[in-house]
Amino acid sequence: MTATLPDPMVPRPYRVQHVRRETADTFTLELVPEGGSDIPPFATGQFNMLYVFGTGEIPISISGDPAKRRPLVHTTRAVGTVSRAMRELKPDDVIGVRGPFGSHWPIEQAEGKDVVIAAGGIGLAPLRSVMYHLISQREKYGKAVLLYGARTPTNILYRRELEHWRANFDLEVYVTVDNATGSWRGSVGVVSQLIPRAPFDPKNTIAMICGPEIMMRFTAAEFEKRGVAIENIYISMERNMKCAIGLCGHCQYVPHFVCKDGPVFQYSQIQGLLTKWEA
């Protein structure tokens, strides 16, 4: 008898276990499948399509630990109709989940090397799973460095976890804000300015970047300037993903389908496209 693969276009019902407000406009959903079935394995950087019934479906990166799949964890920002409706979900509400989809961060390739993660804003969410992996498999990697930039101190995502990671002698965590407010005593400036300050060997480094595209371009350029080979720089792209399996073409990015070939790309694959103006 042949096992039937689940139809990737059919959402599976998941129950909201917990909704946590992270900042004024970001929140984390913890989900468990209805009926107690398993959560499919996922890799760092992959995304799911989350469906708020009667409102719509959007792609959201998985921000939980790949080694602890239950509950399924997603952090996002309430910016559109669906994500705003999602923020209003309560425990025991049910939403649809399809996935996981897409490419993943190069954590296998990074073994034996220094790993530098550069995240901006909500871009930390798709990279948190990498942090969990690095921490759990610490002996496999060289230096582990997290560079994080936020708009203001109140926009810092996962603040408690950042403090926890920063207290870990085995991790280097640098946080900066674009605009200092209140009693902020940390760094002020853009995240790319942290790159010259961070301790890593550029000749033996894998860099992973996620954030607004402009931030990623400038950050990748700074990594190159520091001496990181372009083929060792990875970024996570976001486009208008709909089907998530490379059929509908909504997320087509010249020769690539971001949902299927991405969201994680080797920077050298798409560097030339990032500066092209889109119609």
């Binding site: 930039g149 900066t176 002020v188 607004p212």
Partner: protein, 157 residues
């Protein structure tokens, strides 16, 4: 023990500078230390020096009535603080407020300017290095002006 010349040679700002120029510049340099809360300089004062930060963190601040001090950016180890010493009227545009205990090399601007005038090759070297920093800070400022983390269309997420 490290000499001033070797400290200067090890700072990214002077990376690759020819030894005879390093020797000349050392004559304009002195070691300095600042405690938390100290002002290395204040807005409007004469900018007679600039600093190569060796350790610590300094906030570049401006004072705004009704708001108090606003931090423009922070300057940290390996970085350079100040370019007002190059251009007339040689006055600080911002204040340098120490956030963490800071060790720095202070370079006398008048001394450097006179050496640069006497030897234009040295002057050009200094100018290129300062221009590089100004360009990097300008780029960073431009990114911040875009406010890329906000939810307007320029923001991604």
């Amino acid at each position: 023990m490290q000499t001033l010349e070797s400290i200067l040679a090890g700072h990214p700002f002077f990376n690759g500078l020819e030894p005879q120029y390093l020797q000349l510049i050392t004559g304009c340099a002195s070691n300095t230390r600042f405690g938390v809360g100290d002002f290395m300089f204040r807005e409007g004062e004469d900018a007679s020096q600039f600093y190569l930060i060796r350790e610590g963190k300094v906030a570049l601040e401006i004072f705004a009535a009704q708001y108090g001090p606003i931090t423009i950016e922070t300057i940290e180890a390996g970085e350079v603080l100040g370019w007002s010493w190059i251009f007339p009227p040689y006055r600080w545009h911002f204040s340098g407020h120490v956030m963490e205990p800071t060790r720095a090399i202070a370079l006398d601007g008048t001394c450097l300017r006179s050496k640069g005038e006497a030897d234009h090759n040295l002057g050009y070297e200094l100018m290129k290095r300062v221009a590089q920093i100004m360009m990097e800070r300008l780029q960073a400022t431009r990114i911040r002006l875009l406010d890329i983390y906000s939810d307007h269309p320029g923001g991604r997420l």
